[in-house]
């Protein structure tokens, strides 16, 4: 653990240095590393670097002058008068060590540094914050669902069994939190803590109205900027200011975001879903290859949103009678290629992904072969304009090829785990070819389109 400190006094002659020395001695006694910047009449000495801020646990500011705290943005700060550091340095050190240092602080600092380097800021940064919080939910939840599938694709139906439990943890809980976390932390990045409440609620609503992760992104930005505006507009008398963070902001922002999600986003989402279902019915009369291609595009467009759902429901409908269908086969193939394609891209184009993304890419391979399309969501959310078309192209081709090869599928989900089921798939080999080609198309497109990391 390393602490940072800044000491400063009005004349900058004696107390600044006494406080620094007192803290240094106390830190030594406690056994913790400390770096102390002094603002004296000599000027700034022993200046704290950006690198040190990134690695530090907390900052003690012992000053009776104004210290610019912006450079410590995100680090927990213990602010006291300079004489407190001289009088009770040991207590200060111990208090500072107890300060919470959560991961988000580090990320915030790193993110800001990234922003300097890439001169990207604003919405992109907020989106990335949301995605980086969502990512582990997707990976953990997806792998748990895949494990549940490994017991047999219907094993989870048996309440109380281990596969049922795995599915409840992964699908029922981790995946249920995925979009609220995405929206919540987009809003958090925009508006700090008050953003979390309307963000998470908006994200939850997006799931419930079937607006998927794209609806979640909208909810996140809506929530964040709603808080920013509310803070600007609402001025409470000093005595009532305490009500702002606990009552006024969460209540009003949740109400505003919630109503907008339900009536402004929710209604068109339902209409889109309905319209697409009718359209697919008509399309069924025409060319099977075209239908496969369209279903593929739809599966990859919003992964869990209204368009994906229309395609998936349509596919499941064709097997409802208990017979195998080529439409279902196309839908599953198109749902498998996005995470597989992304996974391959992270292996082929190492310079275009962050360390975190590369790890998630490997998990994406597992999720892809298990037909857990959500594995691609973090990548799509982080860079929608480049990633979504790549996913759609790969899925579209996989869907079309499946139709062309006349592959048929008798079960609604399960990915690679359907293979042991007798007669579940007709044309396994060609099916694999279709999925592989689709995945490679996605991988190459993503690799070509994405900008290299700096």
């Amino acid at each position: 653990m390393k602490l940072l400190a800044v000491t400063s006094c009005p004349t900058g002659i004696a107390h600044t240095y006494m406080a620094a020395e007192a803290l240094q001695m106390a830190a030594k006694k406690v056994g913790v590393d400390i770096k102390i910047e002094t603002y004296g009449s000599i000027g700034v000495e022993n200046e704290i670097t950006e690198e040190e801020i990134k690695k530090a646990h907390a900052v003690i500011i012992a000053a009776d002058t104004k210290i610019d705290k912006s450079k410590f943005n995100g680090l927990p700060i213990l602010e006291v008068g300079v004489q407190d550091a001289i009088r009770s340095p040991k207590e200060l050190i111990e208090d500072a060590m107890k300060l919470e240092k959560t991961k988000k602080y580090v990320e915030k600092v790193e993110k800001e540094n990234d922003t300097h380097k890439q001169s990207k800021k604003g919405p992109y940064q907020h989106l990335m914050t949301g995605v980086s919080y969502m990512l582990p939910f997707v990976v953990a939840g997806g792998i748990l669902i895949a494990l549940s599938f490994a017991f047999g694709i219907h094993a989870a139906d048996n309440e109380g069994s281990l596969p049922w439990a795995l599915s409840l943890i992964g699908g029922g809980s981790a995946f249920a939190l995925m979009i609220p976390i995405l929206s919540g932390f987009i809003a958090y990045s925009i508006a700090d803590r008050p953003g979390l409440v309307p963000g998470m609620i908006g994200g939850m609503l997006s799931s419930q109205i079937g607006a998927g992760f794209l609806g979640g992104i909208i909810a996140g930005f809506l929530a964040g900027y709603t808080i920013v505006l509310l803070k600007k507009w609402i001025k409470l008398p000093k005595a009532m200011e305490g009500l702002m963070p606990v009552l006024v902001l969460p209540l009003l922002s949740s109400l505003i975001v919630g109503l907008l999600m339900i009536y402004v986003i929710g209604t068109p989402v339902a209409t889109i879903n309905e319209g697409l279902t009718n359209w697919l019915d008509n399309l069924q009369e025409g060319s099977a290859v075209v239908l496969g291609f369209v279903l593929g595009l739809m599966m990859a467009f919003d992964m869990g949103g209204p368009i994906n759902k229309a395609a998936y429901t349509f596919g499941v409908g064709t097997i409802a009678a208990g017979q195998s269908s080529s439409v279902m086969a196309a839908v599953m193939a198109a749902g498998m290629t996005p995470p597989i394609g992304i996974g391959i891209a992270t292996l082929l184009y190492k310079k275009k992904f962050t360390k975190e993304e590369k790890e998630a890419g490997k998990a994406g391979l597992v999720l892809g072969i298990s037909f857990i399309t959500e594995g691609a969501i973090p990548f799509a959310a982080a860079d929608p304009i480049r990633v979504i078309p790549s996913l759609m192209a790969g899925s579209g081709v996989a869907g079309a090829l499946t139709m062309l090869f006349k592959v048929r599928l008798a079960v609604p989900h399960g990915g690679i785990f359907v293979l042991p089921i007798p007669n579940a798939v007709e044309g396994v080999l060609l099916y694999s070819v279709a999925i592989l080609i689709g995945s490679l198309i996605t991988a190459i497109m993503v690799g070509q389109l994405k900008k290299p990391m700096e």
Binding site: I13, A14, T16, Y17, M18, A20, S41, I42, Q83, R87
Partner: protein
């Protein structure tokens, strides 16, 4: 560190007579005035007292370090006095003060002087330095304490 440059033999009183904070500060200012460091006693004292009003420079541990930056100071200097009985200095730890360092800094001072002052300030936080100072009998003892 060349502490003796700032704290010369004629800037030390081993037996302060003053019974309170102000009297002791007056005694030490007198030393610096005689030495030609402080050109305007009244002006410098008001700067010191103004600084004391912000919060006492009795930092605890039996030490007081009244100080001020003023154009009534010709060159950076320290006057040091020991009060055997101890005086009330409105210290943070409410204890009596025995060691008093009066620091005078001109408005424009070069960094070497300021560095010496910061060094002294740091050293004063160490108990062994304070113990040696309490027992100091002459200028050499004081300097070697640091």
């Amino acid at each position: 560190m060349e502490i003796e440059k700032l704290l010369t033999p004629n800037r030390i009183l081993f037996d302060l007579k003053g019974g309170n904070k102000e009297e002791v500060i007056d005694e030490l200012i007198e030393l610096l005035y005689k030495d030609g460091v402080v050109t305007d006693k009244k002006k410098y004292k008001s700067a010191v007292m103004k600084r004391e009003e912000q919060f006492s420079t009795g930092i605890g541990y039996g030490i007081g370090i009244p100080h001020a930056k003023s154009d009534a100071v010709s060159t950076a200097a320290i006057a040091f006095g020991i009060s055997k009985d101890g005086i009330d200095f409105d210290s943070m730890d409410e204890k009596q003060v025995n060691l008093i360092f009066l620091i005078a800094v001109p408005n424009k001072s070069d960094d070497t002087h300021l560095k010496i002052l910061s060094f002294i300030s740091r050293r004063l936080m160490h108990s062994e330095v304070r113990e040696k100072l309490m027992k100091a009998k002459n200028h050499e003892d004081v300097i070697s304490s640091f």
